[in-house]
Symmetry: C2
Subunit: 337 residues, 2 copies
């Protein structure tokens, strides 16, 4: 293992996972953290709460379809929502570089408020630190969040009920966020502008939970991409995953950019996508419900849980071959979120 | 108002307060945030929770008696504790500069774990971001925390029960943290080493709460110093505060450094100090309880709530004069926490 921090340690992929296990989970040493779920699931007397935190360091801070503020709110809302929880409150902590424009700061806070309103959540506490010019890049935002979890949803973040035959569903096109931010950073002009998919998914997840569908697992697909999520689901488990490449929704424009730059859409970042594992019996119902939701119109079933290839996720490609899907290694696009 | 962010906007003093009111509270617009308490007090069904967040950007990251990790845990524990809550869980989110030493990271996480253990709290969730070299200074840590609040303590963070005759108590020497960090930053050699006072105060506050003493208000004295806290207590209130300079505990070594560098101990940062307002009847009892606690041995009564000078805090100096105490203006020592 490297003796210094590499960009890849923040990729959300393999190096991040290794660092978290070795330098954080081992030291902090408690069962809640060891579960390695996106949100911690904690008991307070008879209540079950989801609790999560994320820092946002995206560069540039304004990009097509969003900004760091929108991202900071929706990212934390989504971590709670995919745990099966109803998001209730979030915090907002700012680290700002001396000389940063107050107009830009207010655009960002306005955008945070808009996104919080859409999700029905209040920003109830915060913090402000300022560092000297050159000691941080413009602005970093941390949001932490609390959600209320029903006991019947407690298993969703761990995936412990997953079994063979369960279906894998995503709520729409993958990779938009990665390409939108990369395009903004490199100042690329696209023929068709690609916007971030950044959105709060709590209404979408609630509609599925409230339907009584048999949800086995949910996770938001963020900086490590779809590949990292499916690879993590099978890790140390007795089942495998089969993903059908032809069924993964990818915009033509995103696919085109991937071909030009040599990216694999499976590893591109998303900020408004959830992967669900649901029982075979519930799958069609879940897709129908999701398609009626603003952020689920292009929902698709992309694969299933298999008894073959235990511990592995396998991609069945459009041209007929198959290959193991691994977590993101190294760093594709630093500061994507 | 300035059009760009100044270092003073992160001082914890007047500019910070103005920025928070104008750029955050006004936009985020909700009653919980408007209370401007250190922790948000929120209801989840029949439970009352305290929820808080703080980012730590202290420079240097290791200093006499502590490091950024110890600070990040105790700071958030203290925000919960002074709200009258029992701290339960905290999160830890890291923004790390590419090239940072993993050994240093592990020293920091070890120190976080030690401090969390002392306070009896688990670090249950986290996040890791890495930014390119030069885009942040070494490491920044955000911690958010959740505490459980009894209804009888709900008033403590707002101070709405404060009345004339109430006594002002602090739990020991002020200014140690400010001088310790400043000394480490400037690589000063002191004859007597001055250590940070950084410590978790939740056992101290619990001992006072459990005694049934009539606590009117608590706040931790941090980057804005004692002056900022006493000034904020009286803001828009119908009472004043009288502080007796001779009763404020300040170490001789700290006083000496203040004389050399022209600092006022009243504005120096602290990381293990709480200011309490308690009823006149409870004051002696509270001091006796605090003096039995590890972090309260030098507790002292430093002043009282007065009907004179409403809305103002007044310092009665050792030499017999008096002057208005204002919030910290500008920035005394950037990145003190």
């Amino acid at each position: 293992m490297s003796k210094t921090i590499l960009l890849g340690h923040g990729s959300g992929g393999k190096l991040t996972s290794d660092l978290i296990k070795k330098s954080f989970v081992e030291y902090f040493d408690n069962q809640t953290l060891k579960a390695m779920t996106d949100s911690a699931i904690v008991n307070i007397d008879d209540k079950l709460l989801a609790f999560t935190t994320d820092s946002y360091v995206v560069d540039p801070i304004f990009f097509p379809g969003g900004d760091i503020g929108k991202l900071a709110v929706s990212g934390t809302i989504n971590d709670l929502a995919v745990s099966g929880a109803e998001p209730l409150f979030i915090s907002a902590a700012f680290i700002i570089e001396e000389g940063f424009s107050i107009d830009d700061l207010e655009s960002i806070t306005k955008s945070m408020k808009d996104e919080a309103d859409k999700s029905g959540v209040n920003i109830v506490t915060g913090d402000t630190k300022v560092v000297n010019k050159g000691q941080c890049d413009k602005i970093f935002i941390n949001t932490a969040g609390i959600g209320l979890l029903e006991r019947r949803c407690e298993h969703i973040s761990t995936g412990k009920h997953i079994q063979c035959g369960d279906k894998i569903i995503v709520n729409g096109y993958i990779g938009d966020h990665g390409i939108a931010v990369m395009g903004a950073r490199e100042k690329l002009k696209f023929e068709t502008e690609i916007l971030t998919d950044c959105a709060c998914l709590n209404h979408l997840t609630k509609s599925v939970i409230d339907s009584g569908a048999d949800i086995k697992f949910m996770r938001d697909i963020t900086r490590g991409g779809l590949a990292t999520v499916v690879s993590e689901i099978t890790e140390n488990r007795k089942f495998g995953i089969k993903i059908n490449e032809r069924d993964i929704p990818v915009r033509e424009s995103v696919r085109g950019m991937c071909e030009i730059f040599g990216y694999d859409p499976m590893f591109l970042a998303n900020e408004g996508k959830v992967l669900m594992v649901v029982s075979e019996q519930s799958a069609d119902k879940v897709i129908n419900i999701m398609k009626k939701q603003e952020h689920g119109r292009e929902s698709a079933m992309i694969g299933e849980i298999t008894s073959t290839n235990p511990g592995k996720a396998v991609l069945h490609s459009v041209v007929g071959g198959s290959r193991i899907i691994d977590k993101l290694t190294g760093e594709m696009l630093p500061r994507i979120c």
